[in-house]
Point group: C2
Chain length 329, copies 2
């Protein structure tokens, strides 16, 4: 069939209703009815709440034009799943609103394979969506399950709680120049830069870590999408608290340190977005029993503590830190 003759419905069937994405058997989606009717139908087990998050990604704003469609599909879903991780929720299903300027079968095949890769990893079926013509835009909504009343909120931080982060920070910021230049992993002769690009395009949503933290006494959590300082501030605002953090304690990767030097690396760790690690708070007594690595083989690092000085973040010397978080306008 000529590409021009492929209708919307045929497109949806061919690339998104295929079993690798749409027929994944989730732990809680046995009775789920997905793509193919006016609505998808979901069961939510008794005693559980549905956690939902929506992310919109626009070409030229959130990702460069002509980027690798497999990486784009993977990253878009990972970014969205990261919000479930921050609530301590278990993945359930997702929907996709896809706006495309034109039909490219190759693009759709690779994009849908990127989605499928992550969807299979987390047993997360695509249950519905919409495909339209227009400037390339992805709108993904993920949903997860969390025991009623037990989600990790932003508002639970209390004075004296320790502030911790998962993984290493700043890697995605360290890749930004290469991302904007359109470099692919194959273009990278330098192993460290390749590693940073990998971290940008294939972030690991900290789902197991988030669920583990929810059950281990964490009082609040957020995923670091706009930069540590900006995202920590959301916790502080929601909790009515302040913080003191030690920037010199921020965990940075060998690849980032080698590429930019320690000082620049710490700066990226402090304000760089797109790492999708978790920032969480936990009472000191619970923190004392935390292992060095939690599920997802995820290291955790204590970087500061919560104070009762609402909205103020100070460094170890008591000097206020002024953030510059990413805003879209």
């Amino acid at each position: 069939m000529a590409i021009g003759a492929v209708g919307e419905f045929e497109l949806i069937k061919r690339y998104f209703a295929r079993p690798e994405i749409a027929r994944i058997q989730g732990r809680h989606t046995g009775d789920l009815m997905g793509i193919g009717d006016d609505c998808a139908l979901l069961d939510v087990p008794t005693g559980m709440q549905l956690a939902q998050s929506l992310d919109t990604l626009v070409e030229g704003v959130h990702f460069p034009a002509h980027c690798d469609p497999f990486a784009l599909g993977y990253r878009a879903l990972a970014v969205c799943l990261s919000d479930l991780a921050a609530m301590g929720a278990e993945p359930h299903s997702f929907t996709l609103g896809l706006t495309l300027p034109r039909v490219s079968e190759l693009w759709l095949k690779e994009f849908s394979e990127g989605l499928a890769h992550l969807a299979q990893k987390y047993q997360l079926p695509l249950i519905g969506g919409d495909t339209t013509k227009g400037p390339l835009t992805l709108s993904l909504q993920v949903q997860g399950l969390v025991p009623k009343g037990q989600a990790l909120l932003r508002s639970g931080a209390r004075e004296g709680d320790l502030i911790c982060v998962t993984g290493t920070l700043g890697d995605a910021a360290g890749a930004l120049e290469a991302v904007l230049a359109g470099d692919t992993q194959e273009d990278c002769a330098d192993a460290h830069r390749k590693c940073l690009l990998d971290r940008y395009w294939y972030p690991s949503p900290r789902l197991s870590a988030g669920q583990w933290l929810r059950q281990s006494g964490a009082t609040s959590a957020i995923d670091i999408s706009d930069g540590l300082l900006g995202d920590l501030r959301h916790i502080l605002e929601a909790s009515g608290m302040g913080a003191v953090i030690a920037p010199e304690l921020l965990p940075t990767s060998f690849a980032l340190n080698q590429t930019y030097g320690q000082d620049a690396a710490l700066g990226m760790a402090l304000t760089g977005g797109d790492d999708y690690e978790l920032c969480f708070t936990i009472p000191r007594e619970q923190a004392a029993t935390l292992p060095a690595r939690i599920p997802d083989d995820c290291p955790i690092t204590c970087i500061g503590q919560i104070t009762n000085e609402p909205g103020i973040i100070r460094d170890s010397q008591g000097i206020p830190l002024i953030e510059k978080a990413y805003t879209h306008f």
Copy 2:
């Protein structure tokens, strides 16, 4: 504050987290946690399923540039709610992915008021979303509740069932020329044309009708967004059935008949999209007891019946009807 200095978070707060949209007390959303954390949290009562539908609307594709933002907000939500109506679901909540080329406070105010108008009518809180910069695109997801296993599906039509529609058809198609010309209701000297424009911009999602039909023995339903013939075909494909319909029985409005004449009006009723009426099937014995008007003060009209000739739609003379449904590519 200068408009240029308004950040994403401030925008969300000002226009979408306001009580008229975000703090609506839905019948089932008492414990719901909405805008302001990584995810929204929803309760789904025991014995109910969550029905979800996503619609993406792109400027210049699904609505004209520079259209009235109030009408746009109203219509976008109405169109999405129509999918819940087609499943017989009760509205629960919605999320909004909003991509904007620039921040216009006036536009945001009016757009959010259009959303709020309908959200209040149906007690439907906005529980989350995302605001980004880019070409004007709306991605709305609505969710509703339906008793488990009782949703009106497309797949339930059986041989001999009567085919019925709600309301009148073709009105939105009759308004299309004026919509594309950018005419507003105020520009319309002609009362009939004004009425058609109203039907285009302010469709009534048939929510009460859909719930009533679910409880009254309807076997399948779909909302007419792409044209009766195309949408009926979805029911036939899902049910493995065919249909015979009498185009001369299609209900058309006085306004449409007066503006275009009876013949052209019937043509619009047969293939015109955007009316968001319901097409449903119901066994003959149940149909015999249907009142002329069902809830929503909604007239219903029988237009044909289901046959066992899969995929074929014939008219009363037995001649196959070839549809031209709207496709986006």
